[in-house]
């Protein structure tokens, strides 16, 4: 894109947003700021879940449509562990591990046999998602499972200027998102495993030719991606509760984040999650009946002008 084109794009996109922000701030400052915080915190949750999805997609070209079911699995396991031990941190770890192990099993036992048949792998994940979701429904029934936040995060933070009070747990979501983002950045950019994953995203064949055990890298990546979904599940179980149907919602959110942000790119996932969170939350706050249309429009615009997503690279 030339400099002029870039400038025009920023003006076209940024202009209406700036105008709207000025009007909204003048109209109801508290609502605008609270919505901003709400959207960033929601975006953090979406980022955590979608980063796993994009890692798996980017490296193994596998659209893991069972990602939502793994989210649900992690959430339920975390709920049970939290109830038994009373420690939320242990529940976090348990949720992560449960989903990671499930992901590892799926990759090693099933997906590895279909190396190269991407479509077939995707359909297997669809079948798995239906089966896992129904098994979880059988075990946990349709009852709502609401997990407790850890005691130091319960309740609101009061006396914030302008906003007055905000949920402490929700604010901590932002912290989690940033922490996971930093961890992933460190993993991908400063470790050997990370460099292998990045190399694999760029060119899988060369990675194998360089003597790396590609199967091992795949297994680790899938386990990491699934584990992130499970971690997201435990975190989300406090804020949004666990109910059958959450798997589809989070899967959709991950899909949109990855489409908008670009596959295989964790930075793209962050950008995509931010855009989705902002669009969804501001839409719900200011024009509730059309919030989804905003998301749709953004999706269409991105697909029309940058089919690979904002940070996507050609295959």
């Amino acid at each position: 894109m030339t400099r002029n084109e870039r400038f025009a794009t920023w003006l076209l996109v940024g202009g209406p947003i700036a105008v709207f922000s000025v009007w909204a701030l003048a109209d109801n400052t508290r609502l605008y700021l609270v919505t901003l915080l709400n959207s960033l915190t929601l975006a953090s949750l979406y980022f955590i879940v979608a980063s796993g999805f994009t890692l798996v997609f980017g490296l193994m070209r596998n659209v893991n449509l069972a990602h939502g079911s793994l989210y649900l699995l992690g959430g339920y396991v975390g709920y049970v562990v939290a109830r038994e031990t009373g420690w939320w941190i242990i529940a976090l770890a348990a949720g992560f591990l449960a989903a990671a192990i499930a992901g590892l099993l799926i990759q090693v036992l099933i997906l590895r046999r279909m190396q190269g048949q991407e479509l077939r792998q995707t359909m297997v994940t669809i079948g798995l998602s239906i089966v896992i979701a129904d098994l979880l429904l059988m075990v946990f029934t349709g009852q709502v499972h609401q997990m407790e936040a850890p005691s130091f995060l319960q309740g609101p933070i009061r006396d914030i200027p302008l906003i007055k009070a905000y949920s402490a747990y929700r604010l901590s979501l932002l912290g989690f998102g940033i922490a996971i983002g930093l961890f992933l950045w460190w993993l991908l950019n400063r470790t050997l495993v990370g460099s292998m994953i990045r190399a694999g995203v760029d060119d899988r064949a060369m990675l194998a030719a360089a003597g790396v055990n590609v199967n091992l890298v795949f297994a680790v990546t899938f386990a990491l991606g699934a584990g992130l979904a499970g971690l997201g599940g435990v975190i989300g179980a406090v804020e949004l509760s666990m109910v059958p149907g959450e798997d589809t919602r989070l899967l959709l959110a991950s899909l949109i984040v990855v489409i908008v942000g670009g596959m295989g790119s964790v930075t793209g996932a962050a950008i995509g999650a931010a855009i989705l969170g902002l669009a969804e939350t501001y839409g719900l706050a200011y024009a509730p009946t059309y919030s989804v249309v905003f998301t749709f429009v953004i999706l269409i615009v991105v697909l029309a002008f940058r089919p690979r997503g904002i940070m996507g690279r050609p295959a």
Binding site: R30, T35, R158, E239, G245, P288
Partner: protein, 417 residues
């Protein structure tokens, strides 16, 4: 044996006895099939399971036999979507050949099944627990009967209770489909007439999880919230509201303080204590019939077997409607001939004894019954339940208003900002 007169008479008597007994067995009649439809999947799965328990309880109280005919219950499941409900109803009616259908559970499904019932005049359709007004108010079906009161009837008395508590400006947060429209209309009809104001109605999609935006939009000048959300949505909202530092007193819709919500697995429930609501049941009602009903429910479905500590309104509604079906059958002695004309007339005219009082049907085959204004309380074990503040009898579909003044609830009506 010698063939003499005495032996001959003995044999004849024995033969006569045998003939009489087998004749009576023949006269007992073929089993009667009744279809039962509830939502066993989707957002109301827990409520649907309880509904089925209520219907089975009604059947078991009669020992499974009515007027000498054995009742065969054929179950079907839906997921709160109208097209799935109609498909399930069609299978029950056309494939399994049920003669009476009890169901469905949810408001949108009720309207769709009512439309279907018009194409099957040979089967009697009795409601399960669906509470949308439109089912028996607009385009009524001559073979669709509803023995439970509708969503608007369930809110009678809450408006006055709200004004008594000093709630003069209320914001309404409700799910966006037919049943909450009815509930809102039932509340506002009384509330607005008594001078209350509703400056804002926030309609949220069914199954929405993130209420942060709705909570952020609560105006500064309201003094209470009316929350008409069901199941998981209610739980989410309560948690998120409390975490966001909200402290306005809340009122609940009928399904918001239902047992499936009061019993959700998690600890954030104390904020519910003191919430006023209205509906067809109150867990701690002291009436003798109600106590007997609760005892029967607890004996048949203890908590260990998956039942709730107290029957939910879904169990109650399904129980009432199934009881009506069976009582009507008993009254006509199991005779469903002549296009079920006698049976339907009996249903239209009978006075049904339910655990909360008597129920009659009006001209649209809609129930006229009892509504309770309730408050949520916590007992010694930490379980939540509802206690009675006021009992209103003989609530009819037009809520006591004249037919000309009555407006069915929609998204935009009624209003009193």
């Amino acid at each position: 044996m010698k063939l003499n007169k005495r032996n001959w008479i003995r044999t004849m008597c024995a033969a006569a006895v045998v003939a009489a007994v087998s004749g009576a067995a023949f006269a007992q009649g073929a089993p009667l099939k009744i279809g039962l439809l509830a939502t066993l999947e989707g957002p109301f799965a827990a409520g649907g399971a309880d509904g089925m328990r209520g219907a089975e309880l009604a059947l078991n109280q009669r020992g499974g036999v009515v007027a000498g005919r054995k009742i065969e219950l054929i179950k079907a499941s839906s997921n709160a979507q109208p097209d799935v409900a109609v498909n399930a109803a069609r299978k029950l009616v056309e494939q399994d050949k049920v003669e009476i259908m009890v169901g469905p559970l949810s408001g949108g499904e009720g309207i769709a099944v009512k439309d279907y019932s018009k194409t099957q005049p040979q089967v009697t359709f009795i409601n399960g627990s669906s509470g949308a007004q439109a089912t028996t108010l607009v385009n009524t079906s001559p073979n669709f009967f509803r023995f439970n009161t509708d969503g608007a009837q369930w809110m009678v008395g809450l408006g006055k209770a709200a004004m008594d508590k000093g709630f003069k400006r209320t914001m309404i947060i409700a799910e966006d489909y037919a049943f909450p429209y009815s509930q809102v209309q039932g509340f506002m009809a009384e509330y607005c007439r008594l001078g209350g104001k509703v400056p804002l109605k926030a309609w949220v999609p069914l199954g929405a999880k993130d209420y942060s935006s709705v909570i952020a939009r609560i105006p500064k000048d309201v003094d209470s919230l009316l929350v008409i959300l069901g199941g998981a949505d209610a739980v989410n909202f309560l948690t998120q509201y409390e975490n966001a530092g909200g402290d306005l007193p809340m009122m609940g819709g009928s399904i918001t303080v239902s047992q499936d919500v009061l019993n959700y697995k998690g600890k954030r429930r104390d904020s519910l204590v003191g919430t006023i609501s209205a509906g067809p049941v109150a867990d701690n009602f002291e009436g003798a019939d109600w106590r007997a009903f609760v005892a029967d429910y607890r004996k048949a479905y203890p908590v260990s077997a998956g039942g709730f500590p107290s029957p939910s309104l879904f169990a109650f509604a399904y129980y009432t409607n199934m009881k009506a079906a069976l009582d009507g059958l008993a009254a006509v002695n199991g005779d469903l001939s002549g296009g079920q004309a006698k049976y339907r007339e009996t249903l239209s005219k009978m006075v049904l004894k339910t655990p909360t009082g008597d129920v009659r049907l009006d001209g649209n085959r809609q129930a006229i019954g009892t509504t309770f204004v309730t408050e949520v309380v916590k007992d010694a074990q930490g379980n939540l339940s509802t206690k009675v503040l006021r009992k209103v009898d003989n609530v009819d579909q037009t809520l006591g208003m004249k037919k000309e003044d009555f407006q069915m609830g929609t998204r935009d009506t009624p209003v009193c900002p």
